[in-house]
């Protein structure tokens, strides 16, 4: 049965109702967190803030910030606010550098999570009759089990294939007649290529929608995925530190992602002054959890850059909408003094008609930064002549120079040679860090 909303009362609540609910929940959460998490208690004490000082939603600004490093410093259980007997699940961030960040969930936390993921699935037009192929990695990564939980709650048929083994993904997608796909956008693109290479067309599949998240992607990439898989592609936002996928979700209007404001408060702050910026202006996205029991966070600085709008949405949902993150403050590379975001490279490649299978390699030779962009050479880009390949290298290099302001060396590499099969594509290799 097709439904417009999963939890209509909450998703379409008036601003007044939401404000009231948020304040109640914030006060309760701050009190609980203060009492149970030493780091927050120390920081609030140092700032002279007591839980009772939170009298309005604006008082959130009195609360301390949380950074990724805080979560590393308190590894593994230092930030947990519930007794371990109530913690029923552990997840960990997929961070490749430094210690992992470990988070926990109580039964109530999991129930809330499943519900917010179900809201996304309903918003993407799915029903209990859909067959959802969950090709996010299962395990400590929140993607697999997060989507699994939401799709199960909705009553869809879950195909818990996890990531990897692309040939099997394609075969089962076809044979089991999967109608929806959930994975990272880079893996969706990889699957689309593999489907084409297997001689299949989108019409040979029953897929109609895809839920993609866990890494930044552009509108151009959305169009490529939609064309390659013959689906409508939805963006789901989330991060392990705050909950996992589902913190914000896209409706059929696809004009930003609705933040699940009954569970989270979003702030957009100037990353330098940490002061709020107006609607529509870019800043760092900061989240405070309202209902989480095991792993509450206060003002978690995501490092994602985005904006919000309170304009009403045609879908009827009243939750504030956040933009697709435009980049991450910590993804930003400074190369020869110039700020470079990987998303800019992706945009240039898409604009020139290439699939964005690329990798940035930065190094330092004789105290000078070297900047190389590797681009996979697909058969559609190859005519067999040196002249044509040089022209392509020049064209990409020129596109990069005009967008970024500096010229990378363009290196064409073998198809599928850039590591990306599991979970997130590795877009940046910065060897400069090794020499510091």
């Amino acid at each position: 049965m097709e439904r417009k909303y999963w939890q209509e009362e909450m998703e379409t609540a008036s601003r007044e109702t939401l404000d009231k609910l948020q304040l109640e929940r914030l006060q309760k959460s701050v009190k609980r967190t203060y009492e149970n998490v030493p780091m927050y208690r120390e920081r609030m004490d140092a700032a002279g803030v007591k839980p009772e000082d939170i009298k309005t939603l604006d008082d959130i600004r009195k609360l301390p910030f949380t950074c990724k490093q805080d979560l590393r410093d308190t590894y593994p259980y230092g930030m947990f606010a519930a007794p371990m007997k109530d913690v029923v699940r552990i997840h960990a961030s997929s961070g490749t550098t430094g210690k992992q960040i470990v988070v926990g969930y109580t039964k109530n936390d999991l129930e809330a999570w499943d519900n917010i993921v179900a809201r996304q699935l309903i918003a993407a037009g799915l029903t209990d009759e859909d067959k959802v192929q969950v090709a996010y990695g299962y395990g400590l990564f929140t993607g697999g089990l997060g989507l699994h939980g939401g799709a199960s709650l909705l009553g869809s048929t879950v195909i818990p294939i996890s990531s990897g083994n692309t040939a099997r993904q394609v075969a089962l997608m076809k044979d089991l007649e999967a109608t929806a796909l959930a994975c990272t956008p880079s893996y969706a693109l990889f699957l689309a290529e593999s489907i084409a290479e297997a001689g299949l067309k989108p019409e040979d599949l029953k897929l109609r929608a895809g839920i993609f998240g866990a890494e930044p992607w552009t509108e151009g990439m959305r169009k490529q995925i939609e064309a390659g898989l013959g689906i409508k592609a939805y963006d789901i936002y989330g991060l392990t530190e705050v909950m996992g996928p589902g913190v914000a979700y896209e409706c059929s209007e696809q004009k930003g992602m609705h933040v699940n404001e009954d569970h989270f408060i979003i702030e957009i702050l100037d990353p330098d002054t940490l002061e709020p910026v107006p609607d529509g202006c870019q800043g760092e996205i900061v989240f405070t959890s309202l209902t989480k029991e095991a792993f509450p966070v206060m003002r978690y600085r995501t490092r994602d850059i985005g904006s919000v709008t309170h304009e009403p949405c045609a879908c009827g949902r009243t939750f504030v909408r956040m933009s697709k993150p435009q980049g991450r403050t910590d993804d930003m590379l400074i190369i020869r003094g110039v700020n470079v975001f990987p998303s800019q490279i992706e945009e240039v490649l898409i604009k020139l008609g290439y699939t964005p299978n690329y990798q940035i390699v930065v190094d330092r030779v004789n105290n000078l930064d070297t900047f190389e962009v590797k681009v996979e050479l697909s058969e559609s880009m190859f005519e067999g002549s040196v002249g044509d390949l040089s022209r392509r290298e020049r064209e990409i290099g020129e596109g990069m120079r005009s967008t970024l302001g500096i010229s990378p060396k363009i290196t064409l590499v073998n198809p599928h040679s850039i590591e990306r099969s599991i979970g997130k594509a590795k877009r940046v290799i910065d060897n400069r860090k090794l020499h510091d």
Binding site: F382, G384, T411, L412, N414, P415
Partner: protein, 135 residues
């Protein structure tokens, strides 16, 4: 008739060429002619083989980009200036040459020249009309 030639993108790293030739030899594909064009960071390996279609699959399975092009193959008269006769004919028809390589064929025991041009069919016709033997 146009000759089918494989062009294979080869990254400029040690062992990249032999991986391709190993795979072809394991599949018992016979190389009739080859040429390696070089650019700064990559090369393009051009091959004429006894089973083009099978070779494409084998090369693709090594994870490389491969494309099949038509090229002109012509037997060059075995006399001094033999190649010149071919080139003059092409010049007379304003046929430009992108690249060219030569090999001795086991089958005809003669000098064969292969070249790529924009309109392979037209070049074939000019050469056969002028009395050259195509391969």
């Amino acid at each position: 008739m146009a000759v089918k030639q494989l062009s294979v993108f080869i990254e400029n790293r040690k062992g990249m060429l032999s991986e391709v030739t190993d795979a072809l030899s394991d599949a018992h594909i016979n190389l009739r002619a080859l040429c390696l064009a070089e650019a700064a960071d990559y090369g393009i390996l051009r091959l004429i083989v006894d089973d083009t279609e099978k070779a494409v699959g084998i090369v693709r399975d090594t994870g490389r980009t491969v494309v099949v092009n038509d090229v002109v193959g012509v037997i060059v008269p075995d006399t001094p200036g033999g190649l010149n006769l071919v080139l003059h004919t092409l010049n007379g028809h304003d046929v430009g040459i992108d690249y060219m390589y030569a090999f001795i064929s086991k089958e005809n025991g003669k000098a064969n020249v292969v070249f790529r041009t924009a309109d392979v069919a037209a070049a074939d016709k000019y050469l056969s009309d002028a009395g050259f033997e195509l391969i």
